[in-house]
Each structure stands twice: as structure tokens, then as C-alpha cells.
């Protein structure tokens, strides 16, 4: 018989070993799945995980890792504070959309004014504020009425998607777009564009913001009283209250922080890589960031690595789609499977497995 025995303290080795194990396990299980779909498993896994880095066209794909990784890391860092403190903001996707709408709104309202020093910073601010405000709805409802923030933040994703459609078809539609849905292209409006800082590197302002956020989060979590209180609130809520943490304020700060970062991520996306407000502007970064946060152990450095890995699977998935005809959904499946595997392997962090021989009496 196999029994689980609680460890005296969580294993540090397994805390970092389990994400690696989970990734390897996902490659194996994913390979089996692709074999079942009639693909060559080795080729598919290589295409997804290695080709973006080492293939002939890697010069084109490598910058994409920064472009796709930045929003994931920005959002996941925000979420990690809440997840550590037991505040479950699942609606980052909605905050991301609203941030993009607000930021783009500032640019479109000022179009075609020529004042980059004013417009771009105002857009970033508006994007962060938009995401913050959207996240404050579930935050305030939880604090004021005890409403479940998981469900409310999620409902608001669907509301935000409808809002996005309404904007793309209505208020923000490009007057010169010949009736097609979608706003003006911001990346072609110099005062508002989130351009590459170094040509061909993929480095844009969102990447810079993500790096700064990682450092900020690292320092806060390991050294600052607030970081200590966040960890305390998640591990032992009563002890946190006893230590002087105001639970309501903690909920609002965590919600607000993750909302603002998701909103900023949305703005950087809409002003750069995406370029415009369109019906299908959001591609699920807000949900994938949840996986990134967990895979990175809710730790800033880990999140950075996990964000890069997840960006890799997006790019590799794209390559596999065009070169091998792999369905787009396969990559979502692989990402979901990764989170499953991580949660399964994680048992070794807090428990020790012991084999017991059944006694024959």
C-alpha cells in the first residue's frame, strides 16, 4: 500500500524540481497524444519546444518570445500576489481587455495630435487604471458583500468581451476603415505606438515594464513587510489578521495590483503587436497567465522562466500548426495538461511517499 506522509517542512528540492518534472511529463504525455492523432511525436515535440529557438528561422521566432512572454509575465506577477494571499482573481483576461480599451481610448480621443511625451504615458496610465477599476469590481463586492471573487471576476471576462465587440463595432470603429470592424491602427500613430526599442529584438515598452515588475515583485516579496504579509495571509489568514493585516485591504490591494498589471499588459499589446482594438483582440493571455503563475511557483524569477516557456509553446504551436497541420486547440490542451501535471507532481513537495507492505496475519 502506498501512503502519503506529510513532510515537516516543504521540500525545497521538489519545490523547484516539480515544475521541471511537470514539463518533461507533459512532453511525454503530449507526445503520446499526438501519436494518437497520427503525428510523429518526436517531430511535434521538437517543433513546439525547440524549433522556435534553434531552427533555420529562429531569428524570426526568438523576438516573439519577448513579445508573447511580456504580457504573460506582467499578468502572472500580478496574479501571484493574489494567489499567495488567497485572493483568486481569475478574470485577468477581462482586465486585460478593459485596459486595452481604456488605453486605446485615450489615443483615439487625441488622434491625430502629435505629442508622444504626453500621449503614450497617458495611455499606459489609462490602461493600468482601466484594468485596476475592472478588478476593483470583484474586489469591492467581496469586501463589501462577501461575494465570491472567482465567479464575479470570471463573469466580468464575458462582459469585457462583449464590451470589446461593442467598441470594435461602434464607438471605436475606424472612421476611415470602410465599415470594417476594428479601430484605427495605433502602431501607425507615432504618438501612441508601442514600438520596438531595438529593431528586430522584440523588445518593446511592455517587455521593459515586465522586467521592472519582476524586480519589484522580487524585492517586495522577499524583503518588504507587505510581501511578508501577503505570504502570511495566504498561509494562515487568522495569523495574518493577528499580525495586523487588514483582510479587506489585502483583498483590494491584490485585486487592484493584478488588475492594473493586466490592464497595462493589454495596453502594451493593443498599441504594439496587436495594433488595434478588434473583436478577436484577446487571445487568452489572461488565462494562460494563471498557468504561468503556478508553473513559476508564484515566485517572480520562476514566473519569468515559466512565461518564456509558455511563450515558446505559443510560437512552437503556431509553427506546428502551419508546418504539420496540428490543430490550434492542441496547444491549449498541452498547456492545460501542463498545469495538471504540475499539480500532480507537486504532491512530492509537501508529502513523502512511503510504501507499506500489507501484513499477513
Amino acid at each position: 500500500m502506498i501512503v502519503l506522509e506529510k513532510r515537516e517542512a516543504p521540500s525545497r528540492l521538489w519545490a523547484w524540481g516539480s515544475p521541471v518534472m511537470a514539463v518533461l511529463l507533459t512532453m511525454v504525455l503530449g507526445g503520446l497524444l499526438f501519436a494518437a492523432l497520427g503525428q510523429n511525436s518526436i517531430t511535434v515535440i521538437r517543433t513546439i519546444f525547440l524549433d522556435p529557438l534553434f531552427s533555420e528561422f529562429a531569428w524570426f521566432y526568438r523576438p516573439q518570445i519577448l513579445i508573447k512572454g511580456a504580457p504573460l509575465v506582467l499578468i502572472a506577477i500580478g496574479l501571484s500576489f493574489g494567489f499567495r494571499a488567497g485572493v483568486w482573481n481569475i478574470g485577468a483576461e477581462g482586465q486585460y481587455i478593459v485596459g486595452a480599451i481604456c488605453g486605446a481610448g485615450v489615443a483615439l480621443a487625441l488622434y491625430p495630435m502629435d505629442a508622444r511625451w504626453l500621449i503614450f504615458p497617458s495611455m499606459v496610465l489609462a490602461g493600468a487604471l482601466g484594468g485596476w477599476a475592472w478588478a476593483m469590481i470583484p474586489g469591492l463586492l467581496r469586501v463589501r458583500f462577501g461575494t465570491n471573487e472567482i465567479l464575479v471576476s470570471l463573469m466580468l471576462v464575458y462582459v469585457a468581451e462583449q464590451l470589446l465587440a461593442a467598441m470594435a463595432l461602434g464607438a471605436m470603429r475606424n472612421p476611415e476603415g470602410m465599415g470594417f470592424p476594428g479601430s484605427r491602427n495605433l502602431s501607425q500613430y507615432p504618438s501612441a505606438a508601442n514600438l520596438e526599442l531595438i529593431s528586430g529584438s522584440g523588445m518593446h515598452w511592455g517587455v521593459v515594464a515586465a522586467l521592472i515588475t519582476v524586480i519589484f515583485a522580487y524585492v517586495t516579496l522577499s524583503r518588504h513587510v507587505f510581501g511578508f504579509h501577503v505570504r502570511l495571509a495566504g498561509q494562515a489568514p487568522r495569523a495574518a489578521k493577528f499580525a495586523g493585516v487588514n483582510p479587506a485591504r489585502m483583498v483590494l490591494i491584490c485585486m487592484g495590483l493584478s488588475g492594473a498589471l493586466a490592464g497595462a499588459a493589454g495596453l502594451f499589446e493593443v498599441a504594439g503587436p496587436a495594433g488595434q482594438i478588434s473583436i478577436d483582440f484577446n487571445v487568452g493571455y489572461g488565462f494562460t497567465a494563471i498557468i504561468v503563475a503556478f508553473l513559476g511557483r508564484l515566485h517572480p524569477i520562476g514566473i519569468m522562466a515559466a512565461g518564456a516557456l509558455m511563450a515558446l509553446t505559443y510560437i512552437g504551436g503556431g509553427i506546428a500548426q502551419s508546418s504539420l497541420g496540428l490543430p490550434a486547440a492542441a496547444i491549449n490542451l498541452l498547456q492545460g495538461m501542463l498545469l495538471f501535471n504540475l499539480l500532480a507532481v507537486d504532491v512530492f513537495t509537501t508529502y513523502r511517499i512511503r510504501m507499506l507492505r500489507k501484513e499477513v496475519s
Binding site: 515537516e8 524583503r223 518588504h224 513587510v225 499580525a243
Partner: protein, 507 residues
């Protein structure tokens, strides 16, 4: 010599490297009230769980009336005639009394028949209960009645009672003893687990004493001196705490008609609490847990706000001050629940030191925690209070109950409080640690702090308090000098025997 009901031979059970029971042997006679005596962690719980089919022994045998007895689960144990009343009740708050009773039976009759049965048994043994009441709304004594009736309905041959009196008032204890004696007279054997020697001397006919998983002695508690049993149980001679005579100090903490709502659905609201504690004084607050103790500590610590003027610290109103503002002024608390409230289980002792000491020990610089200094403080607490741990980097959960409690109390005492409030300071703590904690509280008072001790353990309160009052259903009695109080007087202060119908116990 009476017939043997249960005979246990060479029972051994280990959890990993920890041996809970080593070669335990003893027997219980038919109709005998047999005490199982031992400290926390002596292996009593593992032993009775083995008898009740919850734990499978590594080796050793049991037999019941001469037939081999090896229950694979509680249902098998119940079928063989074993009933158990748990220390932490195995009850379901949101369910009714009848539903709770049905859950403890293997072949329950219909709901209507259950109600009638409950009434019959409760009349017979003087344990009144309403079958349709929600269990969460009952007092601790009533909840215990539910457990007892649940067992009695199955006509057990052996009734196991795990620390049954810890939640009862003295009068309720008397009634319980009457019930148990009546059961024994009818032929039911009772295995009575406790660490309270006076109770065992009053009730039991035989005692098996466990220490560190082994049987160290078997004796007749009616003829053995309590001191001797205590030494067998603890394995060393314990010093009673020393109290110095203290001059009356200035008023330190006052509650002036404090009221507060219940902390959760099954909690108790505080009503018009008045306390005045002077510097250098120990005020003992007795009462069964669940009568407003948690709420009172929360109101004092600042986790719950009250009217600003309802709590006065050195004459200053602090009822609306947050937790750390009160700490800055010198009002410190140590709540009852060690793991999860006083300390975070999976955090290191260094981090746990920072939970309460950030303010008074200035462990921060411009918002950043000074971890080296926090570690130094944690190490100081560990050294000063003899906390057995390899070092401050170890988690709170890795400490034994007694050691963690020494750490938690030590953490507050070493911040030099003006007023220290402790709730159940020695609950579930071994005797040596308990003695150390009591001594530390008395020393703190000697040094001029006001100390409020909230406890269910009346012996403890009599030992260390200067004045005593009782908290019952959210109301606090007027305090009286602790010296010279009799058990009966204390019982009256605790509100007597919560509607227990003594007369119903047919002798």
C-alpha cells in the same frame, strides 16, 4: 476478581521513526472504570484509536471476552460492543441531534423511532436533549451528551471516554460521574482517559499509566497517592510555581461595559463585560471554551473593534485602535489556537517571530523587514524559554505542542508587555512545559505587568491568579480573590450545570 472484558497484549504502533505505543499490555474488567493516565503525547490517543478500529497496530493482539478482537474499522469495533466519546467531538455542527446520532449507528431505526429512543435514554441517565436541535447551537456539555447518547443507544460493553471533563463545569462533571457509575453498575466497562488525577481518584477503580508510549505502572488510584501517580506519569518531580507577594500597582487595563457580536455563526456574543486589572496582578478568567473566550481575546488584541471607550489601556481609550497600535502601547495577546492563529504552521520561527514583534522590536527599516534581527529575536526566545528545536529556520509545525506554546508565549513576554492576555496557555501542553509557562507568567507579573489568563483548567487558575472571575455565555462574573475559593463556589460562578436535570439520574 471480576471477569476480564478486554485484554491487550504487546501492542506496538510506530509512525515512521516515532513510536507511539511500545509493547503495551493491560486489561479491563467487566463493569470496571479503568483509567488510562498519561501526558499529552504519551500514546493514549493512538491506543484507544486502535481499540476503536481507526488505527491498525504493527504488532500485538487484543481479545474481547477471550475471543480475538482485531477491528478493521470503527463499524467492526462498534459491532463488537465498543463505543467512543471523542475529545474533539466527532459531531457535525450543521446537522440535527438526531442526524448526528444516526451517523454513529450502524443499523439505525427510523427517524421517528430515534427521537423516542433519544428521549428514553436521556431520561434514564439524566441527559436531556432535543432531537431536532442543530448541534452547532448546543453548549459543550450538551454536545458531549449527544456523543454519549450516540454510544449508549448501541448498548456498548466498553465505553471509551477521551478527556471528557475538559469542557465541563464542576457540577456537570458530577453529573457525568453519576452517569458513568450507573453504567458501570449495570455492567458496562469504561476506559477513562485523562491527565487529571483528582478525577481519576474519585471515579476509577484501576489505572494504567503510560509514558512515552509504554506502560510504566498499573495501580489502584483510590489507594495510590496522587503525587506518586503524577511522578510516574511525568517521570520527574515538578515544581509548583512560585508567587511573590506583590504590592498593588496602578490600573493597567480596564473594560467598561464592553459588548461585541459573536465571531461566527456558532460563536457567543459578549455582553457588558467589565474588568479592571492592575499592574503586577494576575486575573484568571475561567469558563468552558465557547462561552466568549475567543471573542474576548479578539476584542482585546484589536482583531475585533469595539467602542473606543470600552477598552482602556493605562486610562487611554484603545477600543478602535488596530492591532499594532495596541502592541506599540504595550497590550499583547497570545491566542488559544497555536497553529494558524498565533503562528503560521509552514513558516519558520524567524518569520513567526515577526508576526507579532515587528512593532515593539522595531524589526523594519523603511518598510523592509530586517530579517537578521528577526532571526536574532527568534533565537533569543528559543534560548530564554528552552524551546526544543534545531534552530529558528525550522517551521512552527515541526515543533511539539508544548515547545510551540513556549515559543508563542515567550515571543510576547520578551517584548516586555504592559498587559499580557493569554488564552488557554497550557491546553494540550505537556506538564513540564505547562509548569514553565505558568512560572513565566507569574514572573512577568512580578516584574510589574498586568496578566490576564483565560483558561478552562480551574486548577491552573487557582494556582496562579490573584483574582478569579468566570465567563459564561458571554457574561463575566464579578471577580473574587482566588485564595480560598472552593470548587462549589467556582461552580456557582461558572453558572452551575446548564439545565442538567440532576434529579433524573435514578440511583
Amino acid at each position: 476478581m471480576r471477569d476480564t472484558l478486554l485484554n491487550i497484549t504487546g501492542l506496538t504502533k510506530a509512525y515512521g521513526s516515532v513510536i507511539a505505543n511500545r509493547e503495551v499490555s493491560f486489561s479491563v474488567g467487566v463493569g470496571e472504570i479503568h483509567a488510562l493516565l498519561g501526558e499529552n503525547g504519551a500514546g493514549k490517543s493512538t491506543l484507544v484509536k486502535t481499540i476503536y478500529g481507526l488505527v491498525k497496530p504493527d504488532s500485538g493482539t487484543m481479545d474481547m471476552r477471550g475471543a480475538p478482537f482485531a477491528p478493521t474499522d470503527p463499524a467492526a469495533a462498534r459491532k463488537a460492543g465498543v463505543g467512543m466519546v471523542f475529545q474533539h467531538f466527532s459531531l457535525f455542527d450543521a446537522l440535527t441531534v438526531a442526524e448526528n446520532i444516526v451517523l454513529g449507528m450502524d443499523n439505525p431505526p427510523s427517524p421517528r423511532a430515534i427521537a423516542a429512543e433519544v428521549r428514553r435514554v436521556s431520561d434514564q441517565y439524566g441527559l436531556p436533549l432535543d432531537p431536532d436541535q442543530i448541534v452547532g447551537d448546543l453548549s459543550a456539555g450538551e454536545r458531549q451528551r449527544v456523543e454519549i447518547i450516540r454510544c449508549l443507544l448501541q448498548n456498548p460493553k466498553l465505553l471509551i471516554m477521551d478527556e471528557p471533563t475538559s469542557v465541563l463545569t464542576p457540577q456537570e462533571v458530577e453529573i457525568l460521574f453519576k452517569t458513568l457509575r450507573k453504567l458501570a453498575a449495570e455492567g458496562t466497562s469504561i476506559l477513562y482517559i485523562s491527565h487529571k488525577l483528582s478525577e481519576i481518584a474519585a471515579l476509577c477503580e484501576a489505572a494504567t499509566i503510560l509514558r512515552m508510549g509504554q506502560v510504566v505502572a498499573t495501580c489502584d488510584p483510590r489507594t495510590t497517592a496522587p503525587r506518586e501517580m503524577a511522578e510516574l506519569m511525568v517521570g520527574q518531580v515538578l515544581q509548583s510555581p512560585v508567587r511573590a507577594a506583590r504590592p498593588e500597582g496602578a490600573m493597567a487595563l480596564e473594560l467598561t461595559g464592553l459588548s461585541a457580536p459573536a465571531s461566527h455563526r456558532f460563536g457567543t456574543a459578549l455582553r457588558d463585560i467589565r474588568i479592571a486589572v492592575r499592574a503586577g496582578e494576575v486575573l484568571g478568567i475561567g469558563g468552558v471554551a465557547g462561552n466568549g473566550q475567543d471573542e474576548l481575546v479578539a476584542v482585546l488584541s484589536g482583531e475585533t473593534m469595539s467602542d473606543n471607550d470600552a477598552v482602556l489601556l493605562d486610562g487611554k481609550p484603545v477600543g478602535r485602535s488596530p492591532v499594532n497600535a495596541r502592541r506599540a502601547l504595550g497590550l499583547l495577546c497570545a491566542p488559544e489556537e497555536r497553529l494558524g492563529h498565533a503562528a503560521a504552521p509552514d513558516m519558520s520561527l524567524t518569520e513567526n517571530a515577526a508576526v507579532t514583534a515587528i512593532t515593539r522590536k522595531s524589526l523594519t527599516r523603511r518598510g523592509f523587514v530586517d530579517w537578521p534581527q528577526a532571526r536574532a529575536f527568534a533565537s533569543a526566545v528559543i534560548a530564554q524559554f528552552d524551546v526544543r528545536t534545531p534552530g529558528p529556520q525550522h517551521t512552527a509545525a515541526s515543533l511539539s505542542g508544548g515547545n510551540l506554546q513556549k515559543f508563542v508565549i515567550g515571543r510576547e513576554i520578551m517584548q516586555a508587555p504592559r498587559v499580557l492576555v493569554v488564552n488557554q496557555p497550557t491546553w494540550g501542553v505537556d506538564a513540564a512545559a505547562a509548569a514553565a509557562i505558568r512560572q513565566a507568567l507569574l514572573t512577568l507579573a512580578d516584574e510589574g505587568a498586568a496578566v490576564v489568563v483565560i483558561s478552562q483548567d480551574l486548577d491552573e487558575l487557582m494556582e496562579i491568579s490573584d483574582r478569579f472571575c468566570a465567563l459564561t455565555e458571554g457574561r463575566l462574573s464579578a471577580p473574587r480573590a482566588a485564595r480560598g475559593l472552593t470548587v462549589d463556589q467556582i461552580g456557582m460562578m461558572l453558572g452551575g450545570a446548564h439545565d442538567m436535570e440532576v434529579a433524573h439520574v435514578a440511583e
